[in-house]
Subunit: 73 residues, 2 copies
């Protein structure tokens, strides 16, 4: 099932950070779209819950060195 999660992410400071998050989350099977907002410290991800879950998405972001502060579905 197609779902959207909104994550508050801290520590992203520049376009390199945006790209690191986009690339790592976008590489997960089941992720359809990644929108990163540097100004709002936010990452919106559209994904297929049959293939990937929010914990895996948050983990991919944290693996890049950022902190996932909160999420809303």
């Amino acid at each position: 099932m197609k779902e959207l999660v909104h994550l508050e992410v801290s520590g992203m400071s520049c376009q390199h950070c945006v790209k690191a998050v986009e690339d790592s989350v976008g590489a997960l099977a089941g992720v359809e779209k990644v929108d990163v907002s540097l100004e709002q410290n936010a990452v919106d991800v559209t994904y297929d819950s049959a293939n990937v879950d929010v914990a895996q998405i948050a983990s991919a972001i944290e693996d890049q060195g950022y902190e996932v502060a909160a999420l809303s579905e």
Copy 2:
């Protein structure tokens, strides 16, 4: 002749920025060492003035999207 230049650079915000500056300056022929300090907004470069000059070093940094505010030799 081996020389050292200290550049004040603004706009570097994270380790991706450090790496972008290190890689671009380090790729110049004649550059021996690049030390980037995120905390001090500074880039120290050891280079051979027979092969490269400060203008080329500053240009490599600016090409990565950062501003060279001042330099001292």
